[in-house]
């Protein structure tokens, strides 16, 4: 399965780069969706199908739909593409790109020195294992996360109420 992993990881990296550099906002979002699907494929390749399918349902299927929804309502046309083209000059992206390249070199260095871990594709982590982990050792984090979501829900309800 290492071939599938390499291929989908490459797709994820390229799609993410295109999502950043794309001038049209909707095309950028499409590349981001492809990137998320590729990350889901990475999960499938390393033997975590439940995490992979949740990535598709939650990120690609729900969150990105809301992104596209908002961008559609903003009615961005040719003017937005022109503005984006004026903003995306080498002077703007050169600095952050160099800094990010330094971090990438560091990451590759660290990864290269790590001992070879167990090969991918050995064993599958299904829904049962994920559920047992979430409601066992990570119970506190799950409860805190649910409280945060509840607070967001109450706030959204308050903002959307008709007075």
């Amino acid at each position: 399965m290492e071939f599938a992993f390499d291929l989908s990881a490459a797709v994820a990296v390229i799609a993410t780069l295109l999502a950043i550099s794309s001038l049209d906002p909707v095309h950028a979002l499409l590349y981001l969706i492809v990137s998320l699907l590729a990350v889901a494929m990475v999960f499938f390749a390393i033997g975590a199908p439940f995490a992979g399918i949740l990535e598709v349902i939650v990120y690609a299927g729900a969150i990105m739909v809301l992104f596209v929804f908002v961008v559609m309502m903003l009615n961005l046309g040719r003017a937005a593409v022109e503005q984006e083209r004026r903003w995306l000059t080498p002077r703007v992206w050169a600095g952050p790109a160099v800094l990010a390249l330094v971090l990438l070199a560091e990451l590759l260095h660290v990864l290269g020195r790590m001992p070879a871990a167990a090969g991918i594709g050995e064993g599958t982590i299904g829904a049962r294992a994920v559920g047992a982990a979430l409601f066992g050792p990570y119970l506190l984090a799950v409860e805190l996360g649910s409280m945060l979501l509840l607070a967001a829900l109450v706030a959204a309800f308050h903002l959307g109420r008709n007075e």
Partner: protein, 334 residues
């Protein structure tokens, strides 16, 4: 096969591929024939004839329609966003076709009924199907299409929330996401009785996911021309059109598999063909129900659709989920 020199793995893969192609062709042909079935049945229920001129009882009407649509000019308007405009119909067709790999159509027949994420794959593909409508509507660059796409995005996202929750009761009782396990778990009784609330809500969510009447607000003819596919013509429109019927077949097959025992029936284990007959009868029952709903029900207002989803169906599925969980736990503990 071994005489030709194939290894057993290659032979198995070839047989699986042939089975998959047969299922795919069967699905597409059924979806296309539904165009005729629907028009005839609507005619019957509304006390008129429907298409009855071409071929026996109008059966060749589909062939005539298909020839027409294949030879029609596939026109891309100059004001559209080309990439998104071309991708949208492909997404519409492929997501629903791909989800059919889960369905066990007969004992031992089906592309991937044992897939361990099973029904979750259907939920993921139903979520991705929203992009077809949204991209089609946005890229068309016209107000009717955009309004239809906005309506549809809000409707589908709202109804997908409880579509997933509605099937979780079945998953809990079967103890697996795989559809073959869900069918096997119904040997001693179909899930429609213990999971009646889950069945009702999944049915409603299924109609909304395929945006059929009475949930056809994204393409409400009287208000929005044809909604998100107003600007489409030729085979691209044809793909949206057939994708809707593929969706109907898919949701009907899933309803039959999840709640009516799929291919289960007397003698189905001995004769797989009989299992396929049972599966087809159950699926066609739900397809008829889809068409009857279109013939019988008026279209609700947009705010009624949203209220019905969030304020009625979502609480019902949550209650069903809690009740099923308590029941399953009590039986395991006792």
């Amino acid at each position: 096969m071994s005489a030709i020199g194939f290894t057993p793995e290659v032979t198995a893969a070839l047989i699986a591929a042939v089975k998959a192609v047969v299922i795919l062709l069967g699905l597409v042909v059924t979806a296309a024939m539904l165009i005729w079935v629907e028009r005839r049945l609507l005619g019957l229920w509304q006390d008129r004839y429907g298409p009855n001129r071409v071929g026996w009882f109008g059966l060749l009407q589909v062939v005539a329609d298909m020839i027409k649509i294949f030879f029609k000019e596939d026109w891309t308007p100059p004001f559209v966003d080309k990439a998104a405009f071309w991708i949208a119909p492909m997404v519409a067709m492929s997501t629903f076709l791909l989800a059919f790999v889960l369905v066990p159509v007969a004992p031992g027949w089906g592309v991937a009924p044992d897939l361990n994420i099973g029904i979750l794959l259907f939920l993921a593909l139903a979520a991705l199907a929203v992009y077809a409508v949204m991209l089609g509507g946005w890229s068309s660059n016209s107000k009717y299409a955009l309004l239809g796409a906005l309506r549809s995005a809000a409707q589908m996202v709202s109804y997908e929330v409880f579509m997933g929750l509605a099937v979780m009761g079945v998953v809990m009782k079967a103890g697996s996401f795989a559809l073959s396990d869900i069918v096997a778990a119904q040997r001693h009784g179909w899930f429609i009785l213990p999971q009646f609330l889950g069945f009702c809500t999944f049915f409603v969510a299924g109609i909304a996911a395929t945006h059929r009447a009475p949930f056809d607000l994204p393409e409400a003819e009287q208000e929005l021309a044809a909604g998100y596919h107003t600007e489409y013509s030729g085979m691209k429109f044809g793909m949206f059109f057939v994708a809707e019927y593929v969706g109907v077949v898919l949701v009907s097959a899933l309803l039959a598999t999840l709640f009516l025992g799929g291919w289960l029936g007397p003698g189905a284990d001995r004769w797989p063909l009989l299992g396929f007959v049972y599966f087809s009868i159950k699926t066609f029952f739900f397809i008829m129900l889809f068409i009857l709903l279109r013939a019988a029900l008026p279209r609700p207002r947009y705010d009624q659709v949203m209220d019905g989803g969030w304020k009625f169906c979502l609480p019902v599925t949550l209650i069903n989920l809690l009740g099923t969980a308590a029941f399953v736990l009590a039986r395991q503990g006792g």
